[in-house]
């Protein structure tokens, strides 16, 4: 056991390159979460309205993402829309597009759930006080709903960060791809590289997602008490 092979992580700029790759992953996830949250808030509000047709369409939209795996959506957008519009859409853009739409669907469900879980008397008291619809949403419903949404939203964020690892399969150069490059380069000099590199990437993802999960659990507990 003279040569463990863990050195491969620190040779040259390997360490920094892996962190750089992680940054790409986190960036894609972050932008998608941002867009998805904004769209999702709107979608969640729309889903509490009484229009049956609108509800049905938005429900269908959500189910489409729940039934078809995200990787399939990545392929659909990457292989169909790109050639159809005859524009060069990069893997990154495809990923942001798919994750934003998926995030909006899931976020919409979280928002709807939070709004519908509020006690009915809140709405009725507000109406009795003569507040307008807009005022009710702004001062009564949304502030209370946000607290209930927080744990779910953070969980969704961790899910999206984890799912972002799939973008390596549509050719984006992120942390897994950088890892593969390092492994291929060291095939002779560092034959054990794949163990350390994938182990390291595994830990990197954990370090990003774990604090978020903890945070979400804390909010959940605080809200329960």
């Amino acid at each position: 056991m003279r040569n463990l092979g863990i050195e491969v992580l620190f040779q040259g700029s390997n360490f920094l390159r892996l962190l750089g790759g992680l940054l790409v992953t986190v960036e894609i996830a972050f932008v998608s979460i941002l867009i998805g949250t904004v769209l999702g808030l709107l979608m969640g509000l729309l889903r509490t309205l009484k229009s049956g047709a609108l509800r049905f369409i938005l429900r269908l939209y959500l189910e489409a993402f729940r039934i078809i795996p995200i990787l399939v959506w990545l392929y659909v957008v990457y292989f169909i829309f790109t050639p159809m519009m005859s524009v060069e859409i990069s893997g990154e853009l495809t990923a942001v597009l798919v994750f934003s739409l998926w995030g909006a669907a899931e976020m919409g469900d979280i928002v709807r759930g939070a709004l519908e879980s509020l006690p009915k008397h809140q709405l009725e008291s507000a109406k009795a006080l003569g507040l307008s619809s807009a005022q009710i949403y702004r001062h009564i419903l949304i502030p209370q709903a946000i607290r209930r949404m927080l744990p779910g939203t953070i969980n969704l964020a961790t899910r999206m960060i984890k799912t972002t690892s799939l973008v390596v399969l549509i050719g984006v150069i992120e942390v897994v791809k950088v890892g593969q490059q390092i492994i291929e380069l060291g095939v002779i000099k560092a034959p054990n590289a794949s163990f350390w590199v994938y182990g390291f990437i595994f830990i990197l993802f954990f370090l990003v997602c774990y604090p978020l999960s903890k945070l979400s659990k804390r909010f959940e507990r605080r809200w329960q008490s």
Binding site: G5, R66, I67, I68, P69, I70, L71, V72, Y75, V76, F79, I80, P83, T158, K162, T163, T164, S165, L166, V168, L169, V176, I183, P191, N192, S194, F195, W196, V197, Y198, G199, I201, F202, F205, F206, C209, Y210, S213
Partner: protein, 221 residues
């Protein structure tokens, strides 16, 4: 969009095979995850020292890392320290590693939701701990957990879509391969989406039906 129906017809058998692989993977993954989840949640419930900490650590590791990286580590990393597994075993181990923690959480919240009154009544009529677990806690916990267990099963079935990364020819990987070979993009992806619908829609209806059936097992409120 002009679809080449002939192409679709010719490739049906291939999709059939790939679908069978997806089903097999999902079946083993769900079954093993359920077993892991049941065992671990019972250990957590009885607060077995040592094991409890290990299981908590496992849950955090499994829930906060992507399946793709888990698979790569199992398939490319482990052979370097002398652990060799076939693609199929890697996929099943990876999916179970992922699913086990989700199922543990589902069972655990079910067990926690069994009302105190039930447990105390059981004890007061002189049931042993084993009897209490078998006849009072677990049946009710199971029925409470059914919705999340079902959601996890569907989640695992969908997660099988990435086993192509360790060169298994499941539905998603097949579609991608066919696109690469024949450039029949629309047809290949249409069949892929249809295949997942065929798998998941009936499963989802079945689970809703089971959920309704077992709800009677709950007591208390």
């Amino acid at each position: 969009m002009n679809l080449d129906w002939n192409y679709i017809y010719e490739n049906l058998p291939l999709y059939g095979e790939a679908m069978w692989l997806t089903v097999k993977l999902a079946f083993w993954a769900v079954l093993l995850s359920l077993l892991v989840g049941l065992a671990f949640s019972i250990i957590l419930h009885y607060k077995v020292k040592g094991l409890q900490t290990l299981i908590r650590a496992y849950i955090e590791l499994s829930r906060n890392t992507p399946l793709l990286v888990q698979l790569f580590f199992l398939y490319y990393g482990l052979p370097k320290i002398g652990i060799h597994m076939s693609e199929m075993s890697c996929a099943i181990v990876g999916l179970t590693f992922l699913g086990g923690s989700y199922m543990t959480e589902a069972f655990r919240s079910g067990i926690e939701a069994v009302s105190r009154v039930q447990i105390e009544s059981g004890l007061s009529i002189g049931l042993s701990r084993m009897q209490l677990a078998r006849h009072v806690i677990l049946p009710q916990a199971f029925s409470i957990s059914i919705p999340s267990l079902g959601a996890n099963a569907i989640f695992l079935l969908k997660e099988t879509s990435i086993v192509g990364a360790i060169s298994l020819l499941d539905l998603t990987n097949l579609a991608k391969d066919l696109i690469g070979m024949f450039y029949k993009t629309e047809e290949s992806l249409l069949m892929l989406v249809a295949a997942y619908l065929i798998l998941i829609l009936p499963l989802s209806f079945l689970l809703t039906w089971i959920e309704r059936k077992v709800r009677y097992a709950e007591f208390g409120d």
